[in-house]
């Protein structure tokens, strides 16, 4: 009987896996984790250099490390991990088989080889151009080739995901509509195709140019198309992260969205806003009109912003609803206070949500307002912002998801569960600290990607005030804390992958059911159902976010109004 070996059913969770998915997910996750290790070490090197009191690396190494860090974590860690778990999302929840496992392996190896080539070129100092590689800065041709290989592999995985879903639909492996999680991953794959294609459109000519086969790459055109790639890769990791949020809420609490319509529409909005939104990276560039800037940052970007704001309510809302149904319905926030905060799967999910929304989200929306952009563009504010989104948000969600999925697919108990528990708090709070203080330094004008803000060797002397040194010191100390968190995650993953296989009980214990907690707390409660709101706690959290955003936004325009007249 073929089907006996073709599928594996997890005895702990009852989840049914297509066998090739398990192997692929493991391989992709291992490769991703290796890049997190490499990127993390490079990041620590960068941070110890930008910490004014330490100033560790010589300048050339600093720029090499920074280029390597950006590529290793932003591209390779995030996208290898996403591919691995996307294979799970497009099969198990809809009972499907992966369409073409062989091709998926080809894609995997292309991504591994491509990323390895690019990394070697960076580390040997032949591609010190930052991950954005703006021409006319030129890297070794192999660097571009590596990135292209990686992109082609990645686009392949997106086609495989879509093909798998279509095949499952035509074979009717499930009834009704696909689960929200699978819907999320479908969105991810569609965005991926646009993304990597625009990557190829710009990277291939740039590669040819690096070999002198093309005489000129227009630097502005490059920036425009490059951000079509790089901005949508950001959108991809947002979509995967949100899918993880919904999934972990489902796993932990049996949660489902408040309404399918709103949550799914929020995903669809990303598709509409996709490519236009990328123009917010060009707001302080020459070359585009006011009308273009307004269209792209308002109409287009707001659709995406609205999508994210919707998830911002419905993700905690889905948890709140599930908790209330089971009896944790006292007051506004009992559902949250009594949540399993010691379980890294939950704490990772919730911290990721909060850091993404309050640090990454508020600041991202503010700085994509056309005029505000010119008071933060390319300052330390920018790394501050995106460590809130992609490190404190996406990466933390990946940690939490690993703690759930990796034991299940490796059939091994999670190693060092205590370290796992601490890793979430250390990484989350460390990144939040970095994010906040880097943004503060950015408001005072500290440049990003900069080796020496004391300008010791510059022709014209300049010194930032002492406050700036202090802010940078605190920010980088935060990075050290998050580095320890990342180390704990890596140890726990390593221990798990090499651990002993167990027949049963590999899966990480989940939350104590809310019903049991409620019974202990107050002898159980009849689910308070009323005329009022369904999820008042989440709505208040969401409104608080909106108020923070409004106040912060107002402060930015107020400051902007005090500087020179610029027309």
């Amino acid at each position: 009987m073929k089907s006996l070996q073709e599928y594996f059913t997890c005895p702990d969770t009852g989840l049914k896996f297509h066998q090739p998915v398990i192997a692929l997910a493991k391989a992709n996750i291992i490769a991703a984790v290796v890049y997190l290790l490499a990127g993390g070490l490079l990041g620590i090197g960068v941070a110890l250099t930008r910490w004014p009191a330490i100033h560790l690396l010589p300048s050339e190494y600093f720029y090499i490390f920074l280029t390597g860090h950006g590529a290793a974590v932003l591209l390779f860690w995030i996208h290898l991990f996403s591919c691995g778990i996307a294979y799970f999302f497009c099969t198990t929840p809809i009972n499907a088989r992966l369409a073409t496992p062989k091709l998926a392996w080809v894609c995997f190896w292309m991504m591994v080889i491509g990323s390895a080539i690019a990394t070697v070129m960076v580390l040997t100092g032949q591609a010190t151009v930052m991950f954005s590689a703006y021409p006319p800065l030129k890297a070794h041709p192999l660097f571009y080739l590596g990135v292209i290989l990686f992109a082609v592999g990645a686009v392949g995985t997106n086609f495989i995901i879509l093909a798998t879903i279509m095949k499952a639909r035509s074979e009717k492996t499930y009834k009704g509509s696909m689960p929200l999680a699978t819907f999320g991953v479908m969105t991810y794959a569609i965005i991926g195709i646009f993304t990597w294609v625009s990557g190829a459109i710009i990277m291939i000519p740039t590669w040819l140019w690096s070999m002198d086969l093309i005489s000129n790459i227009d630097p502005q055109m490059y920036r425009l198309i490059f951000w079509g790639l790089a901005h949508s890769t950001q959108q991809m990791n947002i979509v995967i992260m949100i899918t993880i949020w919904y999934t972990l809420a489902a796993v932990l609490f049996g949660a489902r969205p408040l309404s399918e319509k709103v949550s799914r529409t929020a995903f669809v909005l990303y598709l509409f806003a996709l490519q236009f939104g990328s123009a917010h990276h060009l707001l302080s560039d020459p070359g585009t009109s006011f009308a273009f800037r307004t269209f792209t940052t308002s109409y287009a970007a707001y659709l995406a912003v609205l999508g994210s704001l919707l998830h911002g309510l419905t993700v905690p809302g889905s948890i709140e609803l599930a908790q209330r149904r089971l009896g944790l319905s006292h007051g506004l926030f009992e559902w949250l206070r009594k949540a399993p905060w010691a379980n890294p799967i939950f704490s990772g999910l919730f911290l990721s949500l909060v850091i993404f929304g309050f640090l990454g989200g508020i600041t991202g929306v503010t700085m994509s307002n056309q005029q505000i952009n010119m008071i933060i563009h390319n300052t330390m504010y920018v790394p501050g912002h995106f460590h809130g989104t992609v490190a404190g948000g996406t990466t933390l969600a990946f940690f939490a998801f690993s703690y759930w999925l990796v034991p299940i697919i490796t059939r091994r108990k999670l190693a060092y569960p205590k370290l796992a528990q601490y890793s979430i708090y250390l990484f989350g709070l460390g990144m939040a600290t970095f994010s906040l203080f880097a943004m503060a330094a950015g408001h005072l004008g500290v440049p990003r990607r900069h080796w020496d803000i004391t300008f010791a060797d510059a022709v014209l002397p300049f010194q930032f005030p002492g406050t700036v040194q202090l802010l940078m010191g605190i920010a980088e100390a935060g990075v050290m804390v998050s580095g320890i968190g990342a180390l704990f995650y890596l140890l726990s993953m390593f221990g798990t992958f090499v651990g002993k296989v167990v027949e049963k009980g590999a899966a990480q214990p989940l939350a104590e059911p809310a019903g049991v907690v409620a019974a202990r707390m107050h002898g159980g409660t009849e689910p308070a159902h009323g005329k009022g709101l369904e999820v008042p706690g989440s709505l208040i959290l969401a409104m608080v976010l909106l108020i923070f955003l409004a106040v912060y936004y107002y402060a930015q325009y107020k400051y902007l109004g005090t500087i020179w007249t610029i027309r």
Binding site: Y299, Y302, N369, N373, V459, L539
Partner: protein, 207 residues
Amino acid sequence: MSYTSLQPIPQRHWWKLPAGRDEAIWITAAYGWCLVMLVVMVGWYFFGNQNQAGEAFRVTIDGFSNKVDEMIEEHQLKDTSGTLMSEGETEVPLVKVPPGSDYYMGAHQYSWGSIPVLELGQTYVFHLSSLDVDHGFSLLPIVLNLQLIPGYDYVLRFTPNKTGVYQITCNEYCGLGHHLMAGKLYVIDTAKNVILDGKGGITGMGS
């Protein structure tokens, strides 16, 4: 029937399912806020004083470089003894163009090319471009940041509203000497006798 976000839902047409009241309230608030931002952004373009959309023209690097040289030739400041004024080891020239006229700033690895001397409250037409790779024009302490791109002349009218010694740093990575790229800019007020002190600062108020 109960299901979670990880299970198929019974309905085929998910878009026909109702949305809840909490969500309706939130959508209204959230989209309302987006519209506020839109109105402010457009309003600021017409009524605000700070807008970086400006104009941009394609230029050749040589052409732009010539403009910079011509400007320096014609407008480099002289001190009382008639010697040309400059600062730093590489003798970066101090340049004062008449109010209302063009100022050509050609950034290159790793220098800003000249030190502008501007009069308070006067408007100057700045032409910002690069002579080699991308650079980031970052004017401190007001933290005004603009992207300079070779082959593009970014034209913006600047009207300084405060006297002082400003710094220009480069905040776009432009090569291994990126951190050497510090520059300077003076805003003086000759009418009030706030002028260059000849020692890298200005006299009177605002220094």
